[in-house]
Symmetry: C2
Subunit: 437 residues, 2 copies
């Protein structure tokens, strides 16, 4: 067991407090970095040795950028901060009373704990969704979806039967939020861009169907921008179904509540998420989407040394819940670090206040929407700002340069990168690969 | 079944001859490209939708470049040639008498056949080698090895026991040819370069052991260059064992013929290869390493419409067999295309002559060896020429630019890219992951 102080040498001259941070996503990593060069010892724990830049996962899934560009080595991020240690491990259990984290390898004691384990796909109890739909909440899933897309193209190229071809080239995307819109737009452009690689196949025959359960796209943005996005996607050839509630996913398609069936060889699920965390020694206060209820200071009720941030935490701002985007997690990471430092100085923690810099969503080439303060905009400006903001937040100068090069390639040359089908034969479980054999 | 002519519409005005090429490696792809815009219809078949630039696989395995950079989409390479069609399929059987290729999806008739399916790892009957050693003959294997290396680093960082640490940081490489030398050199540099990411671990304690069965490294190059390589690797900290014949591979180490045991958590196998091809309707003439004996024209004896090229074919030049490097396959691809065109013109095929432009091998940063004509050289010049030649032969301007950037990053900044452990948890079979749990 890794002890929280150096009591083995008998010296207690300097008992450094240990802050354990579970999860190295936007929130956890920011908390660690905000505690760099502070008096505390930080133990950052993640099941992966890399941080995933989640907002660009859809670009990996649609072959616009290579996976490595959005997977940044955690050790490289923290190596300049000697008080931050990293542990790659799966956290199995946390004992609040004894302040011990049990991982699959070791146990770690802590003085302060920051829970930042994020969220995972929630299939909302829809039968067949977890078996047959592709989700893309992590790098492995995004690569699986990418390989699925190119496998469908290759299979379609081998079929002379037009029905099978059309089926293989139909992609149904469930969920009309940011991710669903991004995947639909990118896929629709892929079909056009890749057409020249499939001379025997008219990829333009491919169909992208976006299924949104409510009456508008991008519900987190103003109605006007949702309407703009709807029109833009239609222009791009995406078939958008509003008020389309999925009741069942089957191998090769989905059923809607009204009984309509939509054949599609590939179903992409972007519709639901839920908070995810290790088992804890005591009962937690949980609300919608399994999120943890926290105090306005981001502390767990009754556990002043435990914080929860990011997708995991249910935080309200002016009576409305935060929506789980990266800037919220980043600001909470800063806030939690500040509060822990205040503890150590004997001060009371402060309430977290989210400063909303705005929201952006990308639809396709030269087309995005955004709201910054009172300003709402769509089209080129939205696209350009989206690119700029995501570039700025990407960790590492090298990633930034390379992602910029990939985008130039995608948007100017109009091609796709990273199209190899390497793993799907052996490792993808959900692919109904043999549907047409 | 895809018929070889358009007889369905009753017109026989132009019966185009079909050349089927099985395998889109260096040889097969070159043959296809040399037949572009000729009168024939080319059907290029490969199990993957990408061409692997095999000489750089070791750089993927050692995280010097990302996998996508050496996996080039076959459809992109051939899309400017309307007479070349690509089929992604696994060839299961070839019927020479009826000129039919049976794949897992369809059957294809041909008039001429080019076999270019290359080679695979051969474990030389050494017990345990196929179970416990990592080979790297394809992209999936190279990625598996890379993830294994970083998993070992992460595991070692979690151990306070020095014996376990040393074991986890010991890599034994079996085979002292080009690939073995390249992996040993790159790994040894990785340990130094990555040290700053593992502050609690002295990566310099890591051990790279290169086991060569004969009395010299790089047997395909002059003795002098083998000696230079030996000395250079020793300087870099690699432990080179000559005359070290592996008798058995176990979980966590190897045994030598003389009974010595070498503990190493990771064993990399670069020692053997054998030709690989689909089952054929009739008996073939086979020699060492399962290679097919071919006429000097590269035709199979008794089958004038079937050619075999690349690693698959046993070809002698001035009484000595060719060694299976890329330039040989490339030149054979050109030769086979020329011979097929001669057939069609009613001319006799010509003997293949290999023009040996030279041999190069890289040891590490600023260090390589080479022989071009009568000139033998080592050091910076060998390294520089190796980089240049491999850049020139890489397909696609974009890959070239990006590989160059990666190399600048590797050699100047001294860092490693692509270090994410994404797949190993679920997909790698050979990893004795639980050795230390």
């Amino acid at each position: 067991m890794l002890k929280s102080n150096n009591s083995t040498n008998g010296q207690q001259l300097e008992k450094r407090q240990r802050v354990a941070i579970v999860g190295a996503g936007f929130g956890g990593m920011q908390a660690a970095q905000s505690l760099a060069r502070s008096g505390v010892e930080v133990m950052l724990i993640d099941r992966n040795n890399y941080q995933t830049f989640v907002p660009l996962l859809y670009q990996v899934a649609t072959a616009q950028i290579e996976p490595e560009k959005i997977a940044y080595p955690i050790r490289t991020i923290v190596r300049s901060s000697p008080n931050i240690r990293f542990l790659m491990a799966e956290v199995e259990h946390i004992d609040f009373a004894n302040k011990v984290i049990k991982t699959d390898n070791t146990s770690i004691t802590y003085d302060y704990l920051v829970l930042a384990t994020g969220s995972q796909t929630q299939f909302l109890g829809i039968p067949g969704a977890s078996e047959y739909a592709f989700s893309m909440r992590n790098l492995g899933e995004a690569i699986a979806l990418r390989e699925r897309i190119f496998s469908c193209f290759e299979k379609a190229a081998q079929h002379s039967d037009p029905i099978s071809r059309e089926h293989l080239l139909t992609f149904a995307i469930v969920g009309g939020g940011g991710t669903g819109v991004e995947v639909a737009g990118a896929l629709s452009e892929s079909l056009k861009v890749l057409a020249k690689d499939y001379p025997t196949l008219d990829l333009r025959q491919g169909r992208i169907i976006l299924l949104q359960s409510s009456d508008r796209l991008l519900p987190d943005l103003p109605q006007k921008l949702g309407n703009y996005t709807y029109k833009r996607l239609l222009q791009m050839g995406v078939k958008v179904h509003l008020n389309a509630k999925v009741s069942r996913v089957i191998r090769g398609g989905v059923y809607l509540h009204d009984g309509e069936s939509i054949p599609a060889a590939t179903v992409v699920w972007t519709a639901g998420m839920e908070a995810v965390y290790p088992t804890i020694s005591e009962k937690l206060f949980i609300t919608a989407k399994s999120k943890l209820i926290v105090n306005p200071t981001l502390q767990l009720p009754g556990r002043s040394n435990v914080y929860a941030i990011g997708d995991l935490a249910y935080v309200e701002q002016r009576g409305k819940p935060l929506t789980g985007v990266a800037p919220e997690a980043l600001q909470q990471g800063v806030a939690v670090a500040k509060n822990i430092k205040r503890h150590l100085q004997g001060k009371k923690p402060q309430r977290f206040k989210y400063f909303n810099k705005g929201r952006l969503a990308i639809i396709g080439s030269y087309s995005g929407v955004g709201k910054i303060g009172p300003f709402e905009f769509g089209g080129f400006l939205g696209w350009f700002m989206w690119l700029g903001v995501h570039l700025v937040y990407l960790p590492g100068y090298r990633s930034r340069l390379l992602v910029l090069l990939s985008w130039l390639h995608t948007y100017l040359v109009g091609d796709r990168t990273a199209r190899s089908i390497v793993f799907s034969k052996t490792t993808l479980q959900k692919t109904p690969e043999r549907l047409y054999r």
